[in-house]
């Protein structure tokens, strides 16, 4: 187990280093950010000073090591557009994204799992067919387009909900969040539904597939022969057995929900980190771009590492095979 752990840790490190080099070099290749930031009428002297201030006169590899050194000390640089430290910028935007992701994950779970269970319980019924059709839509139709339809219907057409932005925030357990105010909820509900649809489709499919398979197994037949009501079979036997793959995929998908938030936040003008990265790409705000991408890569590598280790803990075959390779 220790060998396996070490091997995976080293792999994770290599991936993070490789990705940070790729991202850093790639983003640098876009062009000189100074051209965008400096007023073309500025004197050559001001230009020179700014270039030196941002360290852009140094060779590329030196800039990279400076960057890594700063990151290791917790300094992600200063945004060229907002002129505040990237760390502050990201942390000021993070709560908005997290609350959006949180609400959407709740919606996806509360709707997706019961719907999937039902669709698997009566796989040939009309309701099951309708649920599956909806899950295909949630899966395949681009998120931004559904978001626009929601805005057209509920904000522009009916005027029930605001079309974008984050509403009033209140304090909940000392954290400022829009979940504490009614206005906040009215702002968060539409983007959260939008963000939840993909995950909901996935959950419905997974739960249904597990349910269909479980219903034909021997333990269900025995439970039925015993005279247990279907409700009890489904909730106390089947659900427990199919929950492991669902939880795994769900955990893995958490990271991707953060990524998909980029799209939803742009549609609903939600002031989260996703909107921040798109804006920084459009404005060539290099420090924000590099930091965000490197942070996300680290996040994904950590999620993967955790999943790998949990699997290895649960299934000795994985650890033996992985260790030998």
């Amino acid at each position: 187990m220790l060998g396996f752990l070490l091997q995976r840790l080293i792999q994770a490190m290599i991936v993070i280093i490789a990705m940070s080099v790729i991202v850093f070099l790639g983003v640098y290749a876009i062009g000189n950010p100074i051209d965008v930031l400096i007023d073309p009428g500025a004197t050559a002297e001001i230009r020179e000073n700014l270039i030196r201030q941002y360290g852009l006169d140094q060779p590329l590899w030196q800039q990279y090591f400076t960057f890594v050194g700063q990151v290791l000390r917790g300094d992600l640089g200063t945004s060229m557009v907002y002129n505040i430290p990237v760390t502050d910028l990201v942390f000021s935007r993070l709560p908005a994204t997290l609350e959006l992701v949180f609400v959407s994950v709740c919606i996806a779970t509360l709707v997706g799992i019961p719907a999937g269970l039902y669709a698997g319980y009566r796989p040939n019924g009309i309701a099951a067919k309708a649920i599956m059709a909806l899950s295909v839509l949630g899966f395949s139709v681009p998120t931004f387009w559904i978001g626009m339809l929601l805005i057209m219907a509920f904000a522009v057409g009916l005027g029930w909900l605001p079309s974008g932005g984050r509403g009033d925030t209140g304090s909940l357990f000392g954290i400022p969040t829009s979940l504490a105010t009614a206005d906040g909820w009215s702002h968060v509900i539409m983007p959260a539904i939008n963000l939840s649809l993909f995950k909901m489709g996935l959950l419905i499919r997974l739960t249904r597939a597990g349910m269909v398979e479980a219903m034909s197994t021997d333990y269900v037949k025995f439970a039925r022969a015993q005279g247990l009501p279907d409700r009890q079979i489904v909730f106390s036997h089947v659900l427990r057995n199919i929950s492991i793959p669902i939880v795994t995929v769900f955990g893995l998908e958490l990271g991707s929900t953060l990524a998909f938030a980029v799209v939803t936040e742009s549609v609903f003008n939600w002031p989260g980190v996703g909107k921040l990265i798109i804006d920084s790409i459009l404005q060539l705000d290099r420090p924000v771009m590099v930091s965000y991408l490197v942070l996300v890569v680290i996040l994904f590598v950590l999620i993967n590492l955790t999943v790998d280790l949990v699997y290895a803990r649960l299934d000795p075959r994985v650890r033996l095979k992985g260790g030998a390779a």
């Binding site: 792999q11 991936v15 790729i22 991202v23 790639g26 983003v27 290749a29 876009i30 295909v136 839509l137 899966f139 395949s140 139709v141 681009p142 998120t143 931004f144 387009w145 626009m148 339809l149 805005i151 057209m152 522009v156 079309s163 893995l252 990271g255 991707s256 990524a259 998909f260 980029v262 799209v263 742009s266 549609v267 990265i277 798109i278 790409i281 459009l282 771009m289 991408l293 996300v296 890569v297 994904f300 590598v301 999620i303 993967n304 390779a325």
Partner: protein, 312 residues
């Protein structure tokens, strides 16, 4: 399986199993299975019509949206069904630059299809090479290749595409490259999975014991038997490539409006979402949705047919 061995009958002198006929019969059986779902047949027809409309755009569309000289600002924001200064009716209205929406959508569809298909075929080819190499050579090659693939699969495609676009900038070639990078891993994983199963079977062992060169065993014996699941993945991935391109263009990091794709058209229309000029965004969006859903429905039906659990 019998026909792959028979395909080499001229070199191996194995009794012929009449491969051509088998293939025709198989295709006919496939179509008979496919026809059983009217939704899938309708989707196929819709896709055919959309492809015809998009590649026939120069002939069918009343206006060339690329030709800035043909645009007249007097025609801006005409409602659907209005006759503009060109003397023809704008069935779906015009946008803020006086572009005929129907023409722009046809041309936009063409961009979307070209990008989706090119990216799909490239990703498929690269994925097959990586997957087959990993399954065939095993050992260290397999470990390294599949580790990279798995890592990529754990990251959402939109994120990888975003990283690529952030690095490469905008344009058709850049988008295609970003999509290939984001998607080849799906093909590689599928190829690897299917090829690992097939590799253990006797017919591959038999082919390997002959003096046939490795590439021939891989391409003529292994690959045909790995294709069915790849076809399913390919349909789904082409649809998601089209959706991904539209998403990037919508976010403003994909294609500019001077090269209309469905995404950039929707993005342009999004600016007017609070006015009553709904036609700027809703029609390109509908076309995008119909395209993506139709391709997915075809893929679903193919998957159902090829699924061994549903075999008759």
């Amino acid at each position: 399986m019998s026909d792959t061995i028979a395909a080499d009958s001229e070199t191996l002198a194995v009794p012929s199993a009449a491969p051509r006929e088998t293939r025709a019969v198989r295709l006919r059986n496939f179509w008979a299975d496919y026809r059983r779902s009217w939704v899938a047949v309708a989707s196929l027809i819709v896709i055919a019509l959309l492809i015809a409309a998009s590649f026939g755009a120069p002939l069918l569309a009343p206006q060339d949206p690329y030709d800035m000289a043909a645009l007249d600002w007097m025609d801006a924001f005409l409602r659907p069904g209005t006759v503009g200064s060109g003397g023809y009716m704008h069935l779906l209205g015009t946008d803020n630059a006086g572009r005929d929406m129907l023409s722009a959508i046809f041309y936009g569809l063409r961009t979307s299809f070209v990008i989706g298909l090119t990216a799909g075929v490239l990703a498929l080819s690269i994925g097959i090479v990586v997957g087959l190499a990993a399954a065939y050579f095993r050992g260290r090659t397999e470990a390294v290749l599949m580790r990279v693939v798995d890592l990529q699969l754990s990251m959402p495609a939109i994120l990888l595409a975003l990283v690529m676009v952030a690095m490469l900038g905008q344009g058709v070639a850049q988008i295609i490259f970003a999509l290939v990078v984001a998607q080849y891993a799906y093909f590689a994983r599928t190829t690897h999975g299917a090829a690992t199963v097939e590799r253990g079977k006797d017919y591959i062992e038999a082919a390997r014991s002959t003096p046939l060169p490795t590439h021939r065993v891989l391409l003529r014996h292994l690959l045909p038997n790995v294709m069915p699941p790849l076809i399913v993945v390919a349909t789904v991935q082409i649809a998601s490539a089209i959706a991904l391109e539209a998403t990037l263009s919508f976010l403003g990091v994909g294609l500019p409006l001077t090269e209309p794709s469905l995404g950039s058209l929707i993005s342009n229309g999004f600016k007017y979402i609070h006015t009553d000029r709904y036609w700027l965004s809703i029609y390109p969006g509908l076309f995008l949705m119909i395209t993506v859903v139709a391709i997915n429905l075809v893929g679903d039906q193919v998957r159902t047919i090829l699924d061994p659990r549903n075999a008759r």
